[in-house]
């Protein structure tokens, strides 16, 4: 299994070289590469045993030896899968196949370079999710930027240069701060380590920081640095403006990958680093984070409602959906966290699919303006059917995947507000929970509005007279536009399978990630109790207990305090300021 993971990781890079050398047949070799990668990834995901252990673990010496000796610097090539990364890993491999399929005809200029970059990007993204070393993670994290920069800058639309530079600078600015935060974690751990070994291993750092937490102010500071990079990547309001621009200008494959995978790196970073390493920092900022997530949900939805460009609308819907993911994560309880992580995958499937569909629309009608289009369901019924399915998934229709994530997130947030909030914050959290539900209504409004305007009503295609008379002209045009070809149906069906599967049988997808996330949320719960005090003794609305014989379990707050190790830096042997 260990070599299989390494093979899966490096295969796309090899495929990139192959594609570059292959010239005209680059797309064929790219498709083969992504398909084989998908099969390998599927084997890995299927073999994933669940539990808290890291699966398919592999440690190789890199800038230091893997054995953790005192003399080496300790930066190693450590990879592996756990409950948090396993589905995102699989999602990446899946979406890459879709990305190649939607580029099949759309990319006619310099295809070799295009597919080469796309495959290099795949290695970068897979690497982000499998990295178990902070430096390795950062290398992959930055490595994803470069191919995408070129993909947008070369194969994008009119304003591609501006969009590419904005995307690059925005992300880079944040990630430099994130690097600072990560290094601060490493150095803090080094100075406080009883063995004096500097480690960059994420698992070791997590365990060490759990045993010897940083001071509260330090945690808040480090979290702030981590936040800078990850929040831009998510993106959280008000750091989101690079996203619509990048999406609109990117080629279809770029949009699919950007929405489907790259945004998840931000949310993934929060769960991977911020939650376990700076739990008190997260807990201290929790009200702010929840408000920012809520604003993202509502603001993203409102702005989406006001758009006149299909692609831009879907880009803003991403802002709204990622707000839901972050709301779940920052609710800091098992329901919210599991819902949030599942929603990352869901968003990748549904929004990835929506961007693919927009690409297919653009190939056929050469416009993305909503008002230029109408009644397309008559010309392209299959495309319309897929659009309806992806829209319904996106607005969280029960039976499809989006519902599961949103439901768990909202239940988690309600629980946070009603049962797990300190008195001072309960009202705020409750308001956030209730307002977040309004986001679900707005989501249905803009998505169904889009479907209605573009696909229903009388036919209207660009270059024809607008308005009701378009129908008559449209008939003449009807022969010219093809409905979906099998290649496109295949690309979208791959996603629909999982959209339905997650909706009907979410347990299959929740169970593997549950143990990892439960550990995280347990730590988070303790930190919340420390940061804000125990949950308020809210007067029971019902006034009475139904089971008088029921006895109270010790609350989490008490458990948290009891379990807490005394701070080591208080003792004389660890006075690092004198070093």
């Amino acid at each position: 299994m260990t070599t299989l993971l390494l093979t899966t990781l490096l295969l796309p890079l090899a495929g990139a070289v192959l594609a570059l050398g292959n010239g005209a047949r680059a797309r064929h070799s790219a498709l083969m590469t992504t398909l084989v990668t998908l099969v390998l990834a599927a084997i890995l995901v299927a073999q994933f045993p669940g539990g808290t252990d890291v699966f398919a673990k592999m440690d190789l010496g890199w800038l230091g030896a893997a054995d953790g000796s005192k003399d080496s610097i300790g930066i190693c090539f450590r990879i592996g899968l756990d409950g948090l990364s396993v589905w995102l890993f699989g999602l990446t491999a899946l979406l890459m196949v879709v990305a190649v399929l939607v580029s099949w005809e759309a990319i006619d200029q310099r295809p070799a370079a295009f597919y080469g970059l796309l495959l290099a990007l795949e290695t970068g993204m897979l690497g982000v999710f499998v990295a178990r070393d902070i430096i390795l993670f950062y290398v992959f994290f930055e490595f994803t930027l470069i191919p995408l920069f070129f993909l947008i800058g070369i194969w994008g639309s009119e304003e591609r240069r501006y969009a590419a530079i904005k995307f690059f600078l925005f992300t880079l600015a944040g990630s430099v701060l994130t690097l600072l935060g990560l290094l601060a974690v490493v150095l803090w751990d080094y100075y406080h380590s009883p063995t004096g070994v500097m480690t960059f291993s994420i698992a070791d750092l997590t365990a060490n920081l759990a045993a010897r937490p940083m001071e509260r102010w330090m945690q808040v500071g480090v979290f702030g640095l981590l936040f800078a990079g990850f929040a831009i990547k998510v993106p959280l309001f008000p750091l989101h403006t690079w996203l619509p621009l990048a999406h609109v200008q990117a080629p279809t494959a770029g949009s699919v990958i950007l929405a489907g995978v790259l945004l998840k790196i931000g949310t993934y970073g929060f769960v991977r680093f911020a939650l376990p390493m700076t739990p008190e920092g997260v807990a201290a900022c929790m009200p702010w984070l929840l408000w920012l997530s809520l604003i993202g949900i509502l603001y993203g939805a409102l702005v989406a409602l006001g758009q006149d460009d299909v692609k831009r609308l879907i880009a803003y819907s991403s802002v709204s959906h990622l707000g839901f993911c972050m709301l779940g994560v920052f609710a800091l309880n098992p329901l919210g966290l599991q819902g949030g992580v599942l929603q990352m995958v869901n968003h990748g499937l549904s929004t990835g699919g929506l961007f693919a569909i927009v690409g297919m629309l653009y190939e056929r009608y050469h416009t993305r303006r909503i008002e230029d289009l109408g009644g397309l369901a008559r010309q392209t019924p299959l495309l319309a059917a897929f659009m309806v399915i992806f829209s319904l998934s996106s607005i969280g229709l029960p039976g499809l995947n989006g519902f599961v994530g949103e439901f768990l997130i909202l239940v988690g947030m309600f629980q946070r507000g009603w049962a797990e909030a300190p008195a001072a914050l309960a009202a705020q959290y409750r308001a956030i929970a209730v307002l977040a539900v309004a986001g679900v209504v707005l989501g249905a409004w803009y998505m169904l509005g889009l479907v209605e305007k573009v696909f229903f009503g009388p036919l209207r295609v660009p270059g024809q007279g607008a308005g009701r008379h378009g129908a008559a002209h449209g008939t003449a045009h009807e022969g010219a536009v093809r409905d979906l070809v099998p290649r496109e149906v295949l690309a979208l069906s791959l996603l629909v399978v999982f959209i339905v599967w997650i909706g009907v049988q979410p347990r299959l997808f929740l169970d593997p990630m549950a143990p990892t996330l439960e550990g995280l949320s347990r730590r988070a719960t303790e930190s919340v109790a420390l940061a804000h005090g125990p949950a308020a003794q809210v007067p029971r609305l019902n006034g009475d207990r139904s089971f008088p014989e029921g006895h109270a379990a010790p609350s989490h707050a008490a458990q948290g305090r009891a379990a807490r190790v005394p701070r080591l830096n208080g003792s004389a042997s660890f006075v690092y300021s004198e070093n």
Binding site: G306, N542, S555
Partner: protein, 720 residues
Amino acid sequence: MFEIKTLLVLIPALPLAAFVVTAALGKKVLRQRSHVPLVAALAAAFLASLGLLAQVYRQSQQAPDAGPAPGHESAAYEKIVPLWTWAVVGNAYTAGEGKLLAGPAESRDFRIEVVLRADPLTAVMLVVVTLVSLLVAVYSIGYMHGDPGYWRFFTYIALFVFSMTMLVSVSNFVLLYVFWEAVGLCSYLLIGFWFQKPEAAAAGKKAFLVNRVGDSGFALGVFLIWITYGTLNFHDVKVAPDPRAPERTVVYHDPADVQNANLAGTQFGGVLGRTTLDNMAEHPRLYHGAALVAICLLLMLGACGKSAQLPLHVWLPDAMEGPTPVSALIHAATMVTAGVYMVARCAPLFAASPQARQVVAVIGGATALMAAIVAVTQTDLKRILAYSTISQLGYMFLAMGTGTLLGVAAGMFHLVTHAFFKALLFLGAGSVMHATGGVIDIRRLGGLRRVMPVTCATFLVGALGLAGIVPLAGFWSKDAILQAVRQEGTAGSGSTLYAALYVAALFTALLTAFYTFRAFFLTFYGPTRIPPEAGRHAHESPRVMTVPLVVLAVGTVVVGALLEWNRVLERFLARTPSISFLEGAAHAAHSEPGFDWSIAAASTLVAVAGIGLAGALYLAMPALLEQLTATMKAVGLYALSAGKFFFDPIYSLLIVRPLEGLARLSAWADRVAIDGLVDRIGGLPPALGSALRPFQPGLIPFYALAMLLGLLVLLGTMLI
């Protein structure tokens, strides 16, 4: 072979199979035979539902499985069939001191299972749903004949019947919500079935969005239920260690297992389960709190959306853009009654919170009256029927709002009879449309009784049923509702309110008879008027359409008296576990069937008066009609009715437009303000560079001068 379990799974599975087959093969293979899988599946599902009803009836009459609940004499029957586990989140909630959750103090999993249930309420709903679906599907063979989307129509209907049968048979709130939205989706797809028509596409979207508003209330209610009760199941479960693998747990659903004291494990009371409801009797304070009122009102908001009650009724009249069989099946007989079903299912919760119950009654009564007033002046036959549906659903909620067994049973009774006569009326209207080339404006029609006698006769039966003329279906169920409301109006808290609602309900009955027969007389009597759109279609509809009409007409004649006889429906429903806890349920089995002659006389009187008035104004004395219309116009009542109380423009002005404006404003602000700020910040480094550029001109003398000056300043500071 035909155990309850098998039947219960079979009933939704059959339409699901039809859906899959039609979706896969309809377009290319089945084409104009796309109805075959669905009709076959529905026929089988209907038989299965009848079998289930018989089984449940027999079981519920036999010795109850777990003995009567303490403090209650009535026995109840339920059968729980777990299928698979949907989602589990471990240790999701720790109940304890200071937590809201009522129940044993311990950690709870968030565990949602796909569980079906069989009890009297479900069995009755399943029979109604499958029977009306079957008849409508047969009718649609004729009605949709030749439509290019023929296969698509039957695919959607199959999906709908699957969702609706699941909706009435699931046993937890999450799945209820799932299928609640799923039937909404089918409604959306079927309203917008002719998507080329912009009105149809817009109506579909409107229906979905208004329902989403209601559903968000429903969702909030579900979240609060989880917070308050720590479970989302209707029924009790017992969680015990798995005997084969002790580290795992196993969940028992069957009442026999749950009640079995020998079986070790922790019992978790379902929201509507025996444990919780027993506690309700012992701890009255626990179930009268603000949380319960909030839960009930939020659930009611959901019901208002789905069942088109005030203030969320605005989508249903527009939904008439869909094909007429859809209006009959989804927007009259089945889907819109889901809200009534939900309130009936949660009856103990509503009964325990008088405030919420009174809100339900007021919403129901007000909706019934408002919609009846609007229906009086509408000219589109389908819209008249749509408002009539809203009005009749209001009746059902009024009955539910009494919170007594009498009321809940009367509401369900009306749900059943209404399904017959309203489906009949809609299909009759569809038959008219079929003959007139789609024209449905009653001002352009007349004298159709000569052209289509079967449609006319069956429509008359439906109209009499709706008006409540003895011995047709509507008479019995409407009287039951009036009786329940009047009983609440005689004594107890809120008796004045219920007394007022009784008067309103009687007045509504008058209006109902009037508008129904106004439509009937204008369409089928008077001089023969056939619009030119009819072409050569102006004849009676084919057999495949008239047979369902006749079946429904027969049903309308017999079903009311049949179910009223010996109060069989009420006594059967009283054996539903949750309903068995209602006031009066304990005595239902023993009490004499009380028939209130005074109410029957009053309701018959107003019904006859309404019909007589319609006949007088529209057949005999047109002059009087004009005079009356003029008076009404002068008072302003006419505008109010014709303008449908101006809900649409008010919502547009107060909600839709401001939100759209806010959306455009946000989009603008995002581009200009937020992104502008980003660009401004991005412009800072180059600006700084430009500002510093003059100091690096590249001239050697300049640098020399700068060095010299710098040296002087340095020396100067050192000297001083």
